[in-house]
Structure formats: C-alpha cells, structure tokens
Symmetry: C2
Subunit: 186 residues, 2 copies
DNA sequence: ACCTGAACACCGTTCAAGT
DNA sequence: ACCTGAACACCGTTCAAGT
C-alpha cells in the first residue's frame, strides 16, 4: 500500500473507532469521512461496506476471544470456563452498539466481510460447549448454533437501554439453564 | 373527525399494514403516503410519529393479548398457561419485523405512542408469572421486568433470519428455565 | 379543518475527473 | 495508484399555501 493510502486507512480507522463508539454501528459513514478529513470515495475504497469497516474495528477483539477459547479448551472446570467466556464474548459485542445485528446477518452471508470472524467466534464457543458437555457439565440438547443464538440474544438485550438493568440477571438465568442437565459426576 | 379525514386515516392504516408487513417497522413513511395516495403531511397529521402508526397497527393485538392474559389468570395449570401466553406474545411482536426494538424503547419512554400498550403487555405477563410463582411452578427469583426482557430477546431472535431455525429450541430452553426451581408440590 | 407538496437537511453509493 | 467531491436517488420532518 502506498504511504499516503496507508495514512488515510489508519486515519479513517481511528476516527471511525471514535464515531462508532459514540453513535453505534449505524453511524453516518459520511460523517466519518468528513471528520477523518478524507473524501467519501477514499473511505469506500478502503472499506467497501459498513461490515468491512466494523470487521477492521473488531478484528483484534475477535482474535483475542478465539485465542482465549483455545487456551481455555482444556480447562479442568469447563462449566465455569464456558460461562466466563460467554460473558467476555457478550462484552466484546457491546463495544459498538448495534454491532450484534450485523454479526448475526454475517453468519449466514459468506460474502460479508464479517463472516469469517463470526464463524470463528461461533466455532470457539461450540468447542467450549462441547468440552463441558463431554464432562456432563452442560445440557446435551444444544449445539454451537444454539449457543451463538443465545449469545446474540443476550448481547442484543444488553444493548437496549431499558433492558440493561435486567441484563445480568437474565444472563445468570440462561447460564444456569445451559449448565442445567449436566449430570455432574466428578 | 371529518369524513374525508376519516377516509384518509383508514386508507393510510390499510396501506401501512401492507407495507410494514412486507418491509418491516422501519419502512419508508414516504412510501406509505405515496401508495396511500395522500400527501406526506396528511400521514404526519394522523400519525405524528412512527410509533403512533405502529401503535395503531398493533392496537388490536395488544388488546387481545392482554384480554387473554386476564382470562388465563385463574388457570388451574399456571405453568403451561404462562408458557402458552409467552408464545403468543412473541408471535404477536413478529407481525411486523423490527417492531420489538420500538416496543422496548417505548417501555421507558412515557411520551411514546406505544408506551401504554407495552406497559399493559408487561403487566399482563407479570400477572401470569406471579400466579405460577404462587403455586410454586415458576422460579421465584424473577419478576415482570425480567420476563419482559426475555420476551423481547426471544422476539428479536426470531426476527433474525439466520437464527430462526434455532428460535423454537431456544424458546424451549428458556421456558424450561422459567419453570425451573418451581417446587411443584400438587 | 384538513390536505398538499416543496423545502431543508440529511443519508448511502457510484464514478468521472483530477494528481 | 490513489484521491476528491459532485451527482443521483433516496430518507424524515416541517410548514407555507391552498381548498
């Protein structure tokens, strides 16, 4: 990449991080370009879609979560490990308000710039769930897709201001339900 | 209301029902006015906000749900009654895609045209929950606000195409969790 | 009373013209 | 190669002018 292009790319990303943090994932891209001091076409050149921009903003977080899942995959207490990771995954999606809807859409759209990251996240969760299930510590009647759906729903809930006060409690209820049905025979 | 105004009101509502059914709660109001054959100002006169239009579209459904809750309030099996009503409530919100987000926002906004209906819905659910709890058939550590949050999350989930295949199963898991902890001593 | 539609201030997206 | 910004086709909302 040419030096001036690199500079613009970085500048757009930095400003986008600010704007999207404040206004959410549906912030005006025009506004981002304006504040970054670049032409609208420059933003579109580097980030052809809103998903591409969000993917770039969240890339590090996705990687960190997947890596952490890998580290935890052999944990001695896969039940608490799973729940802890779920909490972290949900916290990640809340970095940018409204991001979860784009992630969910991306999971079934292979053309989306967010697709790969979301699949990685889903897979990571599925592995932790599977580990807990093998130890009899999580209910057997669900899989990675169900877990992804639950994460999404909880992330959305925590993103709705009127529901925020209930988010933690609802999380606990659902976490308990996931671990429910484990036969727990040490 | 003058006869011509009444006619416009009905026409707007009828067209809005079609358009919002097809395009969701964030459909273009301009488009509705155009298809209804009225000026944009006429639509705004009758429905000053998007919430007002949605409230009018959903009014009958809200009433029906609240009334049904009243009828079921003295049911002999308050656990299955509660779950059945939850299913109906979620189905109602799905009449118009994207409606649930507006409902959630309205619950804490007394100025919203949707506020009263949403509060009524929440209260109706709270009563059914309370009834089940008194019989020891539902977990005691939740209230009407938690139930409203769960309904909202499940309604949102069922509104995301990639998650639809998991919606029923996730509903069952959560329904079981709500009834969990009931001591169930007949 | 009620209706109309132009006017205003925004979008997202594309693409010819520049360097 | 890369950047710019006008152009196009849309929004939501308001409000003067009409009947």
């Amino acid at each position: 990449m040419r030096a001036d292009a690199r500079k613009n790319y970085d500048q757009i990303l930095a400003i986008a991080r600010e704007v999207v943090t404040q206004q959410g994932a549906d912030a005006s891209l025009r506004d981002v370009a304006r504040k970054a001091g670049v032409g609208l076409g420059t933003l579109y050149r580097h980030f052809p879609t809103r998903e591409a921009l969000l993917a770039a903003l969240l890339a590090a977080s996705f990687d960190a979560l997947a890596q952490r899942a890998g580290e935890l995959a052999t944990s001695a207490s896969p039940d608490t490990t799973l729940i802890t990771w779920l909490r972290e995954a949900i916290a990640m999606t809340q970095t940018y308000s409204g991001a979860i809807a784009l992630m969910v859409a991306a999971i079934s759209d292979e053309g989306s710039a967010l697709h790969a990251s979301c699949v990685t996240l889903k897979t990571a969760g599925a592995e932790l769930l599977s580990h807990a299930q093998k130890e009899g510590l999580a209910r057997a009647d669900m899989d990675g897709n169900d877990l992804f759906a639950l994460i999404s729903a909880l992330a959305w809930l925590a993103d709705q201001p009127p529901l925020v006060p209930r988010a933690d409690h609802v999380f606990d209820i659902i976490a308990e339900a996931i671990l429910q049905g484990g036969t727990a025979a040490p």
